[in-house]
């Protein structure tokens, strides 16, 4: 495995670079879109269940199926990376819209009431009170979405663009385990590092969740 890595480092690195781009761009798009969508699902209570159902349906669709049907919907080439980005963005949106909605709903209603009673208007209250309190739930969702995306990108190798997935198909075609192992290890490492980064961000951004409960 190390030999393979040594002699093919440029291929591996290119694959890794592509993988990172294909996993994180949709993550960003999906999260950014999920914020307003999730908020609407809470602001207008009747939207919550339809939102849940729609997300559930999108999330059930097998990734390969989505990768190959999108060209017909979008008019892109079948072998275009845009399919992967759009598909993963949809998955991320489906997951995160629900997470954002649930996160906002998890905020103790007496706190939002107290905020209103102090004179907060809706928007400021959302930004200064509700979203920060929903962060732990939302960030937990981002972790799941990030790791899932990293795993799903490699499926794209079956339509020619798969980041580290290219190592899998190459190894499989040549009946050679080394590239596959390298790909798997790198993929898992990437996921682990990403997970750690998000957890660190979470700890930095939500200091109150860690304050030791010393009853003074």
């Amino acid at each position: 495995m190390i030999d393979y890595l040594g002699s093919n480092s440029d291929v591996v690195l290119a694959a890794l670079r592509q993988h990172v781009g294909l996993a994180f761009l949709p993550l960003l798009i999906g999260v950014v879109l999920a914020l307003p969508v999730g908020y609407l699902g809470v602001r207008f209570g009747w939207l919550y269940h339809p939102l849940l159902n729609a997300s559930g349906i999108v999330y059930s669709i097998p990734s390969l199926a989505l990768f190959v049907t999108l060209p017909y919907v979008l008019g892109t080439q079948v072998l275009s990376p845009v399919n992967i980005v759009v598909a993963l963005s949809l998955y991320t949106l489906a997951l995160m819209a629900r997470t954002v909605a649930d996160g906002l709903r998890s905020v103790d209603p007496s706190l939002t009431e107290a905020a209103t009673a102090m004179g907060y208007r809706r928007t400021r209250r959302l930004v200064e009170v509700e979203l920060p309190l929903a962060l732990p739930v939302v960030l937990a969702g981002v972790r799941v979405a990030a790791v899932s995306n990293i795993s799903l990108v490699s499926v794209g190798a079956l339509i020619g663009i798969g980041g580290l997935g290219a190592l899998f198909t190459r190894g499989f075609q040549l009946f050679y385990t080394a590239p596959i192992l390298v790909g798997v290890v790198l993929s898992v490492l990437l996921a682990a590092v990403t997970d750690l980064v998000i957890v660190s961000v979470q700890r930095a951004v939500t200091p109150w969740t860690r304050a030791t409960t010393r009853r003074a």
């Binding site: 349906i57 199926a65 790791v147 990293i150 795993s151 190894g171 798997v184």
Partner: protein, 237 residues
């Protein structure tokens, strides 16, 4: 795009070993088998860890670790190591299905109201009985939720597994791609998507109806005023 008749409307595609019904059945078969293997391994372990609380580190992190495994990579690795065939695929599918079942079984049991468990033990129930009569029924919603997402994962992975020789609906996608028969590819994609959605809805129904109404609140009229913990209620005083 070749053919004038859409793939799904061409009668010949609905019969024979390459016909859609056969492929659907094969696909469902693989899914069921992988779930069964996953349950056989993960359920006892999850129940033990959830009930006793020992080894929780494993259960909590299994979910995350499992999610980070690249499905295609795992499939191709197993086949490259063991050769073509169903067994390597089954092993890969099982490896992918065990973590979510393990994690959700554990999480479901851990979130069971401790006072109910306490009461059960206090009444003289043995650990075995406490587990089956109290903890599992209360943890069922979460556990079934885990089963549901595991099932979807298997359906998706089985689709991908066509690339390492497995039958099932993935065949339409993979074979179609290799001969540029996009009609076939889309047909396969549509059928497998519908299958996944239907399966998800069915399991959703199971999730709803298998759980006691006392826990899900299904069909019961809400009675009584909200408890203080839920915040001030303008309707009271």
């Amino acid at each position: 795009m070749g053919d004038d008749t859409p793939y799904l409307l061409d009668g010949s595609h609905w019969s024979g070993p390459q016909g859609i019904p056969h492929l659907v059945l094969a696909h469902l078969g693989y899914t069921g088998l992988a779930l069964l293997c996953g349950l056989v391994i993960a359920l006892p372990v999850g129940l033990y860890i959830g009930h006793t609380g020992r080894g929780s580190f494993l259960a909590i992190n299994a979910g995350n670790a499992g999610r980070s495994l690249p499905t295609l990579g795992l499939l191709m690795l197993m086949v490259t190591l063991m050769g073509l065939g169903f067994l390597p695929v089954l092993i890969a599918l099982t490896v992918l299905v065990v973590p979510p079942i393990l994690t959700t079984t554990y999480a479901g049991l851990r979130n069971v109201d401790r006072s109910a468990v306490d009461a059960a033990v206090g009444m003289g129930m043995r650990p075995w009985q406490v587990l089956w009569r109290v903890e599992v029924p209360m943890a069922l919603p979460v556990m079934l939720g885990g089963l549901r997402s595991a099932a979807l994962q298997v359906v998706a992975t089985a689709t991908v597994a066509a690339s390492v020789g497995l039958s099932g609906l993935g065949r339409l996608l993979i074979d179609g791609l290799s001969v540029n028969d996009y009609g076939r590819v889309v047909a396969g994609a549509v059928v497998v998507a519908v299958l996944a959605i239907v399966l998800d809805l069915l399991l959703g129904l199971v999730q709803r109806y298998a759980v006691s109404p006392g826990i899900s609140g299904r069909g019961l009229r809400r009675r009584g005023a909200p408890v203080a913990a839920s915040g001030p209620d303008p309707e009271l005083a």
